[in-house]
């Protein structure tokens, strides 16, 4: 006789889910707070790690640096990428803001999603997730993920261009192609956002059905 394994949501799962979301909110809030404080001169520039470095495309005339890497495979070529890493060791206040702005946008979007998910998790724990407020929350999550995944690389293009113009001599450089490259868009995240829009619609219809059944004797 075969036994069927059933996955059932328990109270322990509720506690774990809300605990994880709360930890995520705390970690994201602390990151956001650190970034905000870092935009002021209160913290030394090197505390932000890689955030002080931007990567820009090298001008077309720049020869790629030589690469000395032993190759074992046949028909394999190794060459350096044509990009420049520009590090701001002592950024001014506006430069600090420009350096952290894309990350700050991402942190704000993540925080919003986590807070909304926590509110939804609370209704699940109370045993009644199919409420109109959760439909709105689902759409907020879907819109934030979709818009956020497009907005962060877009903001980065603008901030990187501004930082580049501040750091490099425009006469010596052909300024970077100004636009969002296809490679910079996080397509998996955009896809997740669109899938969440579909899920929000499923949720809306489920809530409608629930309303129909409510009051049925």
């Amino acid at each position: 006789m075969s036994t069927r394994t059933r996955l059932a949501w328990s109270k322990a799962d509720d506690v774990v889910l809300r605990g994880l979301l709360l930890m995520g909110i705390a970690a994201t809030s602390l990151t956001g707070l650190f970034l905000l404080v870092w935009t002021t001169p209160l913290l030394p520039a090197d505390t932000a790690g890689e955030l002080t470095t931007i990567t820009v495309h090298a001008p077309a005339a720049t020869p790629p640096p030589p690469v000395d890497v032993p190759v074992t495979g046949e028909d394999v070529e190794v060459r350096a990428t044509e990009s420049l890493a520009v590090t701001f060791h002592d950024p001014t206040l506006p430069e600090r803001l420009l350096l952290v702005l894309p990350t700050l946008v991402g942190v704000a979007a993540t925080l919003l999603v986590l807070v909304v998910l926590l509110r939804m998790a609370r209704t699940l724990a109370q045993g009644d997730p199919f409420v109109p407020a959760n439909v709105r929350r689902m759409y907020v999550v879907a819109a934030t993920v979709t818009v956020g995944s497009l907005a962060v690389p877009l903001v980065r293009v603008f901030t990187d261009a501004e930082l580049q113009s501040r750091a490099l001599d425009p006469d010596g450089l052909v300024l970077v192609a100004f636009g969002v490259g296809v490679g910079e868009v996080p397509f998996p995240l955009v896809f997740v956002g669109l899938a969440l829009v579909a899920l929000a619609e499923v949720f809306r219809r489920g809530t409608g059905l629930r309303e129909d059944v409510e009051g049925l004797v």
Partner: protein, 74 residues
């Protein structure tokens, strides 16, 4: 529960129970519906009724659906 809609539908369960000398609890047991749900129906807060519930009520109260449900224009 969502706000009540003014449908004009009236449930005459009170009168039928009174005429037959039956309590709501007794009827609920006979029909197989919870007292809470039957109370919702009796107080006009129900938004819909299953055919199976309606048939069971008619059977136990020995009445027709029209005796149980009426319509009054507001």
């Amino acid at each position: 529960m969502p706000p009540e809609e003014a449908t004009g539908i009236r449930i005459h369960l009170d009168e039928l129970l009174s005429d037959r000398g039956m309590t709501l609890t007794e009827l609920a047991q006979r029909v197989g519906v919870t007292v809470v749900n039957l109370s919702v129906l009796k107080n006009g807060r129900a938004r819909a009724i299953r055919f199976s519930t309606l048939a069971a009520l008619c059977r136990e109260l020995d009445c027709q659906p029209g005796d149980l449900i009426g319509y009054e224009e507001d």
